[in-house]
């Protein structure tokens, strides 16, 4: 055994040492990105991960508490309520947004004044949210809002838009849809413009009607863009903070306290360890939901 080892060592040392020299230039070129990424992405994530195992409140020594924060959150009804709220909002927002955006994008594909429509669609996205949220509060007020005024003048009952848990979610979802659908339309319009017109022409020659063309050509060929819209929508909903913060403050009865708002509460309460653990759980869940959505859409694309 010893002889074999010696032989191997001799063979290795007999080989000339070749150290690969590399140029510094490529590294210097990417260094700004690496530094910015390390400072503003990698480091905060690693620090948050470290914090999630502590009970740090922003001052004093870091005290390691192991998995206690995760255990607390995973057994906390408040945490699951916030996740359920975000889940409900996801169901209210994302499918409706995809459907609406796709319909509008297809309708606008050959429309005149596309530029004008695009500008109009993006306007809600760039309008200051706090101002719009205030308008929403006035519009959806139960007793004096324009929406209920419209409903009652049609003989329909007034709805507690902001004071019932279920309807408050719908009100927030409508605000999110109003604000973000235009952006999804712009993305889908870009996706649609990349479909060659001769594909449609060939389909028409083969006798395919408009509906058939939509299902067999348009939808499959924009699946990648749709996946992107779904992922962006998922991220938006699970990070949703400003809309419920301004419109309902998380109420009534914490029914519109989204995952993002619940996380914010930890931070403002200086429960940084708990907040970091909540962030980590949120990352895992959003990642899982995004991957599941993409897989679902890709499987349709493949089939």
């Amino acid at each position: 055994m010893a002889t074999l080892t010696e032989a191997a060592t001799t063979r290795r040392s007999a080989r000339p040492v070749r150290r690969r020299r590399v140029s510094a230039a490529p590294y210097l070129f990417v260094a700004p990105f690496i530094l910015v990424f390390a400072a503003f992405s990698a480091y905060p994530i690693l620090f948050a991960l470290q914090l999630s195992f502590t009970n740090w409140h922003g001052a004093g020594a870091l005290e390691i508490v192991g998995l206690a924060n995760y255990q607390f959150l995973l057994t906390s009804p408040d945490f699951w309520q916030s996740m359920a709220t975000s889940g409900a909002l996801w169901l209210l927002v994302v499918p409706a947004q995809v459907l609406l955006a796709l319909t509008i994008a297809v309708a606008l594909r050959k429309a005149r004044f596309r530029g004008l429509f695009s500008a109009a669609l993006i306007a809600p996205f760039v309008t200051p949210l706090v101002a719009m949220a205030q308008v929403w509060i006035i519009l959806f007020d139960k007793d004096f809002g324009a929406v209920n005024h419209g409903l009652t003048s049609l003989g329909l009952p007034a709805i507690s838009w902001l004071t019932s848990g279920v309807w408050a979610k719908v009100t927030i979802a409508l605000l999110v849809l109003w604000r973000t659908t235009g952006y999804a339309v712009i993305l889908l319009m870009a996706g649609l413009s990349s479909i060659p017109s001769d594909v449609y022409e060939a389909a028409r020659i083969d006798g395919a009607g408009a509906w058939h063309q939509f299902w067999s050509i348009t939808v499959p060929l924009v699946t990648r863009t749709l996946s992107f819209v779904v992922v962006i929508g998922t991220l938006t909903v699970f990070q949703l903070f400003a809309e419920p913060y301004v419109v309902t403050g998380g109420g009534p009865f914490n029914e519109t306290r989204t995952a993002g708002l619940y996380l914010y509460k930890h931070i403002t309460n200086s429960d940084l360890g708990l907040g970091a653990a909540n962030s980590m759980l949120l990352v895992v869940m959003v990642l899982a939901l995004s991957i599941a959505s993409i897989r679902l859409l890709r499987s349709r694309e493949d089939s």
């Binding site: 150290r19 690969r20 020299r21 590399v22 140029s23 510094a24 230039a25 590294y27 210097l28 690496i34 390390a38 400072a39 990698a42 480091y43 690693l46 620090f47 470290q50 009970n55 740090w56 409140h57 922003g58 001052a59 004093g60 020594a61 870091l62 206690a68 607390f72 906390s76 408040d78 509060i137 006035i138 007020d141 139960k142 007793d143 004096f144 809002g145 004071t163 403050g249 998380g250 109420g251 009534p252 009865f253 914490n254 509460k265 931070i267 403002t268 309460n269 200086s270 940084l272």
Partner: protein, 453 residues
């Protein structure tokens, strides 16, 4: 000759080793927890050296910022060697994160009393400096700025609870405002108003969870109650809270209340159209008839709160703000000098509360917590047109002086909104009884906020 563009050769291993070391060093360095001890000590109370230097002060955005700007000018006129960078900031949202990160920390900031305990570990202990003024500070306020035996903020304003009412509607209904001396009498008055006008829902019921908790706390404070006692023991499931919640439940169940969020459309419309008539609220409600109401401007009046029992206390406190000096302030001494000027000198508090360009009649949404400033016969602000020319100063001072002391804000007060505030909201929606609110809230607070974690 070396080509200046030719790269310096070094191995990939060297590069990776260097990057790794830099990241590790950065990571470890940055993972060092924040320091709570101020690197710049505060002066002792006896320092007489004229102040000089530069400080950054944060105040809430809006009119109050403009008012403080004038008051700060009176300080810099007195001490020309001092430069004050006065910034308008969303302090409640920004201060906690700034204190934790330690970056861009101001030398002093205006901050809500209800949130003080949450940032207490990041603030200078002002006990020694405040000592000389202690006997001149309203007892309620002194309790609020004292955390674990340390004074952590310079006490600013006092916000006594008052009963605001629509004088025209009340008189038309045949109710004598002078008879509103107890909450039972208020209930009777509400019934009378509703009998005259069936659409009326005379008493305000607060539907925001944060303000709702603050509001119920005022009712409890009026009876000498608080969420915790002096030993930090949870006392929410107690008579003062039960009495207040039972009364509110009665208002709700008899259909005598307008359930609305403060200054939201329903609130303002019903106050203007005369269906909401009685608002037991902090003095700062006076902002609403002055700035937000239209048709009912001038028809509102204020009186001291009704008592829970005949002859009982007619005052409680709701809200308020103070000045904090962060432990990481660069120049805490100057910040203290500024706040000492604003709070404890006649020139300072007169400049803030007295008539100015922003408020020609003076700042009337609160009164100072410094007792020597509370002379009923020397008003700091003028009678208010939106209250029909009523002298609010006299009423507020009378109420402020009666506010029970010995009040302690628990460190978790803000977090309790998710439990107590929300349960109060459920009570007002008819989903919980007063007993259920108290028992559920006590269990939730004990488990989630006071437990072993």
């Amino acid at each position: 000759m070396t080509n200046p563009l030719s790269p310096t050769p070094f191995s990939r291993r060297t590069l990776l080793r260097g990057t790794g070391a830099a990241l590790l060093a950065g990571g470890l360095g940055a993972c060092a927890p924040g320091n709570t001890t101020g690197s710049n000590p505060l002066p002792s109370a006896g320092v007489t050296k004229p102040p000089s230097g530069e400080i950054t002060i944060w105040d809430r955005t809006g009119d109050l910022y403009k008012v403080f700007d004038k008051a700060i000018a009176s300080f810099t006129a007195k001490y020309p060697q001092v430069k004050v960078n006065h910034l308008a900031v969303d302090v409640n949202a920004k201060l906690p994160a700034t204190l934790i990160s330690g970056a861009g920390v101001p030398d002093g900031a205006f901050y809500d009393d209800a949130l003080l305990t949450g940032v207490a570990p990041h603030l200078h202990d002002l006990s020694q400096l405040i000592e000389q003024y202690k006997s001149d500070i309203a007892p309620y306020k002194l309790g609020v700025v004292t955390v674990d035996g340390k004074v952590i903020a310079v006490p600013w304003d006092l916000d006594p609870g008052l009963l605001f009412y629509r004088e025209d509607v009340v008189t038309r209904a045949g109710v004598d405002p002078a008879s509103l001396t107890t909450y039972d009498a208020l209930l009777d008055a509400a019934r009378t108003v509703r009998d005259k006008s069936p659409a009326a829902r005379p008493i305000h019921l607060e539907n925001d969870q944060f303000l709702g908790q603050l509001w119920v706390d005022m009712f409890a404070n009026q009876q000498g109650g608080a969420m915790i006692d002096a030993d930090g023991k949870l006392t929410i499931d107690s008579a003062p809270y039960r009495t207040a919640l039972t009364w509110l439940d009665k208002v709700r169940s008899e259909g005598l209340g307008t359930l609305a969020k403060y200054t939201q459309p329903t609130d303002l419309q019903t106050q203007d159209n005369g269906t909401q008539v009685f608002v037991p609220w902090a003095q700062w409600f006076v902002f609403t008839p002055q700035q937000l109401l239209k048709t009912s401007k001038g028809k509102w009046r204020a009186t001291t709160l009704p008592a829970w029992q005949a002859g009982g206390a007619r005052a409680g406190v709701m809200g308020g703000s103070s000045f904090v000096i962060p432990a990481k302030a660069k120049n805490p001494e100057l910040a203290w000098r500024l706040y000492e000027h604003l709070v404890f000198s006649k020139e300072g508090y007169t400049t803030v509360y007295g008539p100015n360009q922003v408020y020609p009649g003076g700042l009337n949404t609160s009164i100072p917590s410094y007792l020597p400033a509370l002379d009923p016969d020397t008003p700091l602000f003028k009678p208010i047109g939106a209250l029909g020319g009523q002298d609010l100063w006299k009423i507020a001072v009378e109420a402020g002086k009666q506010a029970p002391g010995g009040y302690t804000i628990p460190t978790w007060w803000g977090k309790a909104v998710d439990y107590f505030g929300v349960n109060v909201q459920k009570l007002l929606a008819g989903q919980l009884t007063p007993d259920e609110v108290l028992k559920t809230s006590a269990t939730q607070i004990q488990k989630n906020l006071m437990g072993p974690s």
